[in-house]
Symmetry: C2
Subunit: 417 residues, 2 copies
């Protein structure tokens, strides 16, 4: 603790604030990291499951780049494949032969994939899925879950957000998670107008516990979609390849029409994918959707190598098992200090919350104490674990967890900012 200093971070953030709106923006903004003094903001170096900030402080990483890092920073199987492709070609005038290999791989791996399409952002493929659903059905309306995150395009963000106009919301209907009757009511009220139902495989609201599907939920949603010719879209961008290599719909036992993939595909190389059923392939071919760098070959080569390797070791199972070990132990440590640490979602990407304090101040304080001690704990977003977190990382994390609980137990007020 006495070694946690950050003069370079402070100076760098001061410079950043001069030339970048908010200094650091989007989901990387330090605004929800309280107190900001506990958090590193900038990464100078990363390797395996750890990163170093600009002041030389090191952190065991439980955010994993907010999802993309799944096999360790600088994982050799990814970097070697990327480098081999880079020596040939990356962003050129033609498509990459490896694009075809990668599409074939996804079609082989995933029951819900008869074809694949590649882009950069998660939102690129969510928007493409919506366009396909509208073109295929001739309908306009989209049903989504209240509080779900699918990206930052106007319609995806709820009403009232800065830059979002009322018109962005006109074709979007929000229903609560796990509420089949609510979906039935929407289908009745907007009979013949609903193009698509879109949802993550289980619900991950911000600032709140993750919520798993109720028994039979997906079966009923799928049946309703089929009956009403509504395109069933799974946004598997955050969950994908952290539950099952065959896709999170395989984990929960249902068959979406379109599946959005991204974050964990290429261990940090920028790529997203839409995979879908044969019936929508010709529609997908006629909807024009593209971007300057979507045919970049290196991320495709990285994704191919990464998905093959993840399949070989069953990386989702590794993360689920290792996560369960870690988070169960955390809960036990919490108990010894008299705290009720709630862990929701699956152990490869759980949401944590100290349940004894509705204000979340106590939880924020505990996360900050952990981060100051070298394990990056985020307070209001789900965490991530990777297949590269070692037994030693987990052991060290548990020691930090113990110290962090001890620290918050020893005081009544949040630490000084």
């Amino acid at each position: 603790m006495s070694t946690y200093r950050y003069p370079k971070r402070q100076e760098l953030f001061r410079r950043a604030a001069g030339v970048i709106p908010g200094g650091i923006y989007g989901h990387f903004s330090p605004a929800t990291l309280v107190p900001p003094s506990a958090y590193p903001f900038f990464t100078a170096r990363a390797e395996g499951a750890r990163f170093w900030d600009v002041d030389g402080n090191t952190f065991i990483d439980y955010m994993c780049a907010y999802g993309p890092m799944v096999m360790g920073y600088g994982a050799p199987h990814v970097e070697e494949a990327a480098e081999a492709q880079r020596r040939l070609a990356d962003c050129t005038t033609g498509a990459a032969p490896v694009m075809v290999d990668l599409a074939e791989l996804l079609v082989d791996m995933m029951p819900a994939a008869d074809w694949a399409f590649f882009a950069k952002n998660g939102a690129d493929v969510v928007n493409f899925a919506i366009m396909i659903a509208r073109d295929a059905t001739g309908r306009d309306k989209i049903v989504m879950i209240e509080g779900a995150y699918h990206g930052t395009t106007g319609w995806m963000q709820g009403p009232g957000h800065h830059g979002v106009i009322e018109a962005d919301q006109h074709q979007v209907i929000r229903i609560p998670w796990n509420d089949v009757p609510a979906f039935e009511a929407v289908l009745d009220r907007h009979h013949g107008d609903v193009a698509a139902f879109i949802s993550t495989p289980y619900h991950i609201p911000a600032f709140a516990d993750s919520q798993m599907p109720a028994e039979g939920y997906w079966e009923k949603i799928q049946a309703l979609c089929r009956r009403h010719n509504v395109v069933l879209i799974v946004d598997d961008i955050r969950h994908g390849f952290r539950l099952d290599m065959a896709g999170s719909s395989a984990y929960f036992g249902f068959s979406p029409d379109l599946t959005c993939l991204g974050n964990a595909m290429a261990n940090g190389y920028p790529i997203s994918a839409l995979v879908g059923c044969e019936a929508l392939k010709s529609t997908a071919a006629r909807v024009f959707h593209t971007g300057s760098y979507w045919f970049q070959a290196v991320p495709m080569a990285a994704a191919k190598a990464n998905l093959v390797k993840m399949g070989e070791i069953n990386a989702p199972q590794v993360m689920l098992t290792r996560g369960a070990l870690l988070f169960d132990a955390m809960v036990n440590i919490a108990t010894t200090y008299g705290y009720d640490l709630k862990v929701s979602g699956v152990p490869s990407m759980p949401y944590l919350r100290i349940a004894d304090d509705e204000s979340l101040m106590l939880h924020q304080d505990w996360c900050a104490e952990g981060t100051r001690r070298g394990a990056y704990f985020t307070p209001h977003h789900n965490w991530f674990i990777s297949a590269a977190h070692t037994d030693a990382d987990i052991q060290q994390t548990l020691e930090i967890v113990d110290e962090a609980f001890k620290a918050i137990k020893g005081k009544n007020l949040p630490i000084e900012c």
Copy 2:
């Protein structure tokens, strides 16, 4: 010519068509390349101003990855900077220190930049600019130019495109290029409702000649925007750093509020940027817009190194001069065969068209004959030249141009597909 064979491409495209909608999609789709037999589809290797297809055929590249390649494939100054950053960190949990350097560089380089924001796609920053304009003005409507391309988000594509719904167009007003009275009429009719005017620096419609701004056009547009508190957005994604390192608005002598940048920034590494004036910085900070890979460090390091190097050699001037040399010579060769080759736009990204044939069949045929002979000529999109096209490349291209005119002169019908 006798050596132009492509059995591997045919086989690869057959596989692609099995697992990817349309085989190759978006702006890389071979659909507008007629006859497709002349075009390579896939790139196996690229270096300098050339690429090789999967059958070993080589092409001098006049598409430059549709814009991103500006200093030659594999340019050492870019690859060395990228590799140095890659050894440290790429996509991690923190922002990259180089993000701050890059923002400072853009602010130094461009009079229209008091701050910078980074994303992946061009459309990411166009959409961000629109959100900022709406939040800053409290208005909804966007004025854009008929036939302009800003990406493939619903509102950007004109009505009638697959997947685009009527509601996408409700807040978008299209006016002809170079038509100041039309803009005045819109400002009258929608008084107090127009959030933004967005346009490329000069107009580059598809399948048609590029159109430069009329004398005084930008001055008048800027004055109208100021008078009506309309945010003036320049989409400089395709033009940027091909006209002037200070931005295309500096080339044409006006001052936009927001400028969208991308393609040529990082020589193919995936990054886009929005830069803007001080007055909109706090609005930009409160509009939430983000993506999984937007903080990726390697493309930022590549952009920084590339922009510095481009500034050192004045790369836009190199491309404009070299392009003028090449395209003037092409026009002369055309004349000797009795053809009127029209070159519009600037010589670093000109649009070419044989004017003797309204159907464009003759022009398609000529482009195909050039491509078959090893110079990639696209028929319906503007071309690009890079600062890496050598005198030898240009000499060889002119020989190919001569042969291609000879070939089309020798027959009356389009070549066999």
